[in-house]
């Protein structure tokens, strides 16, 4: 458990360091006995996706991704509960990129294609996959 905590903290530092690329981040002396996940590993993608989600999606979908964000009260139907989503990864990627209107869903779901990078969109989908029901279609 303790090792897991150390590892999570180290991964956070590594990813944040990569994001900020500051001299201070580069100077952090990381423990040598920690197995860092590769940046393309599922763990790293889910972690990065959770950060993107926290920055851009929580307003409507909520911190718990249950559709109860602070702006949810503005919309009928309410934002999707992403913990119970029955949509495929491909569908999620499309609606994130294009927004709700072209997908015949809520016009209030913005198109994120111009704001997020390809990697960020892919990471968010990985994060959503990690919180979706196990029997949800892929």
């Amino acid at each position: 458990m303790k090792r897991h905590g150390v590892r999570a903290a180290a991964v956070s530092l590594m990813l944040l360091g990569a994001a900020t690329a500051s001299p201070m981040a580069a100077a952090v002396d990381l423990p040598s006995d920690v197995d860092f996940p590769h940046r393309d590993s599922p763990e790293a993608r889910v972690y990065r996706g959770s950060i993107v989600f926290s920055n851009y999606c929580v307003l409507c979908h909520g911190q718990n991704a249950d559709g109860k964000g602070r702006a949810a009260k503005l919309y009928t139907p309410p934002p999707a509960n992403l913990r119970k989503s029955d949509k495929t990864d491909e569908y999620k990627e499309l609606i994130i990129r294009r927004g709700g209107a072209p997908m015949a869903r809520s016009e209030f779901m913005p198109p994120w294609g111009a704001e997020l990078t390809e990697e960020q969109i892919s990471d968010v989908v990985s994060f959503l996959r990690s919180i979706a029901p196990e029997d949800a279609p892929r």
Binding site: L59, R70, A71, K73, L74, G99, P110, E115
Partner: protein, 106 residues
């Protein structure tokens, strides 16, 4: 009969009121509102013009006005009328750092 006599003055007042209301234009450029705060009168409208080459959104969850004008591309604008006095915080759902404070007075 009374309604008939009231209809004209009421319509006249509404017409005068809307004629006196101002429209304030705020640009969305460089992922920022062109002003950080704005003072308007009750009945005034604020028009948000997207001058960025990507979509913006405008919404507010303030007590005096809750709205979401949706997302729209460069060159388009959306307008909202503030019909109650108080303070409103206007945001962009796509760019969380964009915040505009609107002070609405009688």
């Amino acid at each position: 009969m009374l309604n008939k006599y009231l209809a004209f003055p009421l319509a006249f007042c509404a017409l005068v009121s809307s004629a006196l209301a101002a429209n304030h234009v705020v640009e969305q450029k460089g992922k920022a509102f062109s002003v950080k705060s704005l003072n308007v009168k009750v009945g005034d409208s604020v028009e948000f013009v997207n001058a960025d080459p990507f979509n913006h959104n405008v919404f507010s969850l303030s007590d005096i006005k809750t709205f979401d004008l949706g997302s729209y591309p460069q060159g388009q604008s959306k307008k909202v009328v503030f019909d109650k006095a108080g303070q409103a915080e206007v945001e962009c759902a796509i760019h969380p750092d964009m915040i505009l404070k609107v002070e609405v007075s009688e």
